[in-house]
Amino acid sequence: MNLTLKIWRQSDANSKGKLVDYKISGIEGDMSFLEMLDVLNEDLINKGEEPVVFDHDCREGICGACSLQINGEPHGPDRLITTCQLHMRKFNDGDTIYIEPFRAKAFPVVKDLMVDRSSFERIQQAGGYISVNTSGNTQDANAIPIRKEDADEAMDAATCIGCGACVAACKNASAMLFTSAKVSQFALLPQGQVEATERVLAMVNQMDEEGFGNCTNTGACEIECPKGISLENIARMNREYLKASMKG
């Protein structure tokens, strides 16, 4: 198929960016979206131009590196997958495709389509852990039985890949889904109870400091999340936060 791409080009965080048009042909349905960009980049390199910079690594939907706002949607039109798993068969010959970086104040552009998500790192560093030493002297794993349902629900929250689609989808650029996924995982497990109060306060505080917006329950994050992280996690985090505030 032949396509017109309108791609955001920006040389670094301090420069002004703009959409640039590219024509591309010979694209097959079995190619992934990123393989389509590989084809474009190979063309650009052969023409002596600078290739388009974008984040990607595992190309199997788990590392969370790839991003891209495709036709206005994080990770493009398909559901429950990342951009690297999006295939060109979802598009038609002659389509024009807009490709932009994830947009949020807390995600400044590094170059072209690549953004800086270190704000997510700092949220995790603020409290996204259980303070247990890695000495190997912990109790036997089966000494703490956990209801299967709780373990499964914790697992569902824990599958967050930290890609930032939730932020990019949200009109407020809120990071509530991301933050609540970690808070929920630990809130659902007995191991997480000891530090529950400090954790939720510290993580929410950091989230606010990074300049993410508030949640107004539009639910766009849940729809765009490639891992299907549920809005219920936000509700759970709000409960945890309320509990912690009263204790604190």
Binding site: S11, E28, E35, D38, V39, L44, I45, N46, G48, E49, E50, P51, D57, C58, R59, E60, G61, I62, C63, G64, A65, D78, I81, Q85, L86, H87, R89, V110, K111, D116, F120, E121, Q124, Q125, A126, G127, G128, Y129, I130, N133, T134, G136, T138, Q139, D140, A141, N142, I144, P145, R147, K148, A151, D152, M155, T159, I161, G162, L189, Q191, G192
Partner: protein, 671 residues
């Protein structure tokens, strides 16, 4: 007498690690605060090592090329992690895990290292549960297990099909705790470009800030390389796009021996190549072989009809199918080790039974598992006389709960519903057992330079068993390195901070900068990917699943020619002092072009078949094992450790003889 000293402690196998720990030198907490450690790579091995060393009190700097430690490729491991917990009461023990691993590795690993791995395996599970890793559980609330290839017990712990992700996020959370305390400084989007040695010891690295292009000097009292494997030398593999050998290769060029480079794991169950545009291959977890049955049609005419789209695989009756693994290996069936399963798939496809257009695919079929689970579910749900549709529906639900994310991934990539039609799979490069040579302390041949996880060679011999990579990465990082490095660093309590304004750092930085200039100065004929793909083709065709003397010799020559062409004609756009992914790739491919040649040289030297290394000249000629790989213990019962001497062709071989005191060397049979 070899110059390689494996430093295996004295005493009976089961006591070695305990005795060792009782005798090592310790560093007191006040002194640890004055000692710096660099960790390159933040996957399971690097992340767990960094967290633990920081927790002990050392000042740790971590480096990863990704924008976050959480994105290291350990994240993509699907199926599970082994541990000799014997929770299932099915006869598991440290010894059995040790035995299975040595046998699975085709008797080419070091007994003492493997036993230690088995010994600490149970602790890993305890540790991860304490960190909040949500492993799968049974209804009683206790941990669930599944089986993996090459073993007869259920010892694999898992978190859906995302075990690597959950374990890595566990290690990442432990790292975050230390970052928050200021004990780890994380340098993300940084790449190590060289190792700096002072007075023969590893004392730092030269790294490039990938965002600004700045070349930085970092010093430390010890350097840990946990930078993963080199499967991307094949271009197409299940590795992440950025996975590379640079850190390990730079250390090799500085004096660290590289061991068994030819030991590569070709994983049997990956999604087949769909075209020339392919940038990477996707694994379908080995756990699928618990329930999936592998087959091709018995008759060539059925194969033809399927390829032409005139026949569907579901239309073939049981009698018309060849479940070739169950036929050839009745004892282990679909759960034979990976190397065996891969070769068997290649054998069927080479014989003309491949089921897709390219003739390079076999079926992985869940129909009988769906029926089996459906019937069981109907019974436990109290449904008597369930209809066929009800059974199928319930069976599919069970399969979804076990492998849902894998099935979804398959459907998105291939555009076919694997619940209704069998998956098509083919072997692909997945893991490299070879790596930097290390002694029992995980120290390379450079004092103060350690290698952990996939980056070292130590535990998997010539073939790694499924669910053992995660085990090894975390064992090395959480439980082994913290002890062994401490013993080494106890000499450094009076050293003080290592300055970076020394001639050694000057020289290393200059070499790094010259190399970058040289990469940018290519004539501009071809892109980096052009060379990488060419290298990959040579590797896959001549150093792949089946190897012979003639083709290996050709590969050595072809790679040398390609490397020369690369340095003259590669085209790297952009500038040095900015974010430049093409420049990053160029540096990595330059190293692959050297490693590839050493790989072929090692494969040529090892004129025996063992594990993932199959030499056509070394095959069983008769008896029950006819056609299977033939090991040659008389001549090759050693680790091949290569010393850098300039060009790869000049690399010098050193042998570490493998001594087996606790296991009898046998023909590895899964019949």
């Amino acid at each position: 007498m070899s110059i390689l000293d494996s430093k295996i402690p004295e005493g009976p196998l089961a006591d070695k690690w305990t005795n060792y720990k009782n005798k090592i030198n310790l560093v007191n907490p006040a002194n640890k605060r004055n000692i710096d450690v660099i960790v390159v790579g933040t996957g399971l091995a690097g992340g767990s090592a960094a967290a633990t060393l920081a927790e002990l009190g050392y000042n740790v700097k971590t480096f990863c090329y990704q924008d976050s430690p959480r994105r290291a490729h350990s994240i993509a491991a699907q199926g599970g992690i082994n541990a000799a917990k014997n929770y299932q009461g099915d006869g598991d023990s440290d010894y059995r895990l040790f035995y299975d691993t040595v046998k699975g590795g085709d008797y080419r690993s070091r007994e003492a290292n493997v036993y230690r791995l088995a010994e600490v395996s149970g602790n890993i599970i305890d540790q991860c549960v304490a960190q909040g890793v949500p492993f799968a559980r049974e209804y009683g609330g206790l941990l669930d297990n599944r089986s993996f290839g090459g073993v007869l017990v259920s010892r694999t712990f898992y978190a859906k099909g995302q075990t690597g992700q959950q374990l890595l996020l566990g290690a990442y959370s432990a790292m975050n705790r230390q970052i928050n305390r200021g004990k780890i400084q994380a340098f993300n989007r940084h790449e190590m470009l060289d190792l700096v040695k002072i007075d023969g010891k590893a004392r730092g690295i030269i790294a490039r800030n990938l965002v600004t292009g700045e070349i930085e000097r970092h010093s430390a009292h010890a350097v840990v390389l946990a930078s993963g494997g080199y499967g991307n030398v094949f271009f197409l593999s299940t590795n992440a796009m950025g996975s590379n050998v640079m850190a390990a290769w730079r250390a090799h060029r500085r004096g660290a021996f590289f061991a068994n480079p030819c030991y590569t794991q070709i994983h049997p169950t990956c999604i087949p190549v769909s075209g020339d545009h392919q940038s990477k291959l996707t694994l379908m977890s080995e756990s699928l072989r618990n329930d999936g049955r592998i087959w091709v049609p018995k008759r060539k005419e059925d194969v033809e009809a399927i390829r032409e789209g005139k026949l569907k695989p579901t239309q073939l009756s049981e009698e018309e199918r060849d479940y070739y693994l169950e036929r050839r290996y009745p004892a282990f069936g679909n759960l034979v080790p990976r190397d065996v399963a891969s070769r068997a798939a290649k054998e069927r496809c080479d014989a003309g039974f491949g089921v897709n257009k390219t003739g390079e695919a076999v079926y992985l079929d869940f129909a009988s598992a769906i029926q089996r689970y459906g019937k069981e579910k109907a019974l436990t749900s109290g449904i008597h006389n369930p209809s066929k549709e009800e059974i199928t529906k319930m069976g599919e639900e069970v399969i979804e709960s076990k492998y849902g994310n894998l099935f979804q991934m398959y459907e998105k990539i291939v555009d076919e519903n694997p619940y209704k039609s069998p998956m098509m799979i083919y072997p692909a490069v997945h893991y490299t057992m070879g790596g930097l040579w290390v002694d029992y302390n995980l120290q390379t041949t450079i004092p103060g330079c350690y290698a952990a996880g996939e980056a070292n060679f130590s535990d998997h011999g010539a073939n790694r068993l499924g669910a053992s990579a995660l085990m090894q990465g975390l064992a090395d990082g959480y439980f082994v390195l913290p002890y062994t490095i401490g013993d080494y660093l106890s000499q450094d309590i009076r050293t003080g901070k290592i300055p970076t304004d020394t001639p050694e750092f000057d020289q290393a930085e200059k070499e790094v900068k010259d190399r970058i200039e040289k990469l940018m100065a290519g004539s501009g004929e071809h892109s980096v990917d052009y060379y990488h793909k060419k290298l990959g083709k040579i590797m896959w065709n001549k150093c792949g699943m089946s190897r012979n003397e003639k083709e290996l010799k050709e590969a050595i020559e072809e790679i040398a020619v390609l490397r020369e062409d690369f340095w003259k004609n590669v085209k790297v756009p952009g500038t040095i002092n900015s974010m430049n992914p093409e420049l990053e790739k160029a540096g990595r491919v330059a190293d692959f072009l050297e490693l590839g040649e050493l790989f072929a040289k090692d494969a040529l030297n090892r004129n025996e078949s063992c594990g993932g290394h199959f030499r056509e000249e070394s095959v069983e000629q008769s008896g029950e094992q006819k056609g299977e790989a033939l090991r040659d213990d008389k001549n090759f019962k050693y680790v091949a450790a290569w010393e850098y001497k300039g060009e790869p062709k000049d690399a010098q071989l050193h042998k570490e003889d493998l001594v087996f005191e606790n296991i009898e060397l046998k023909t590895r049979s899964y019949k």
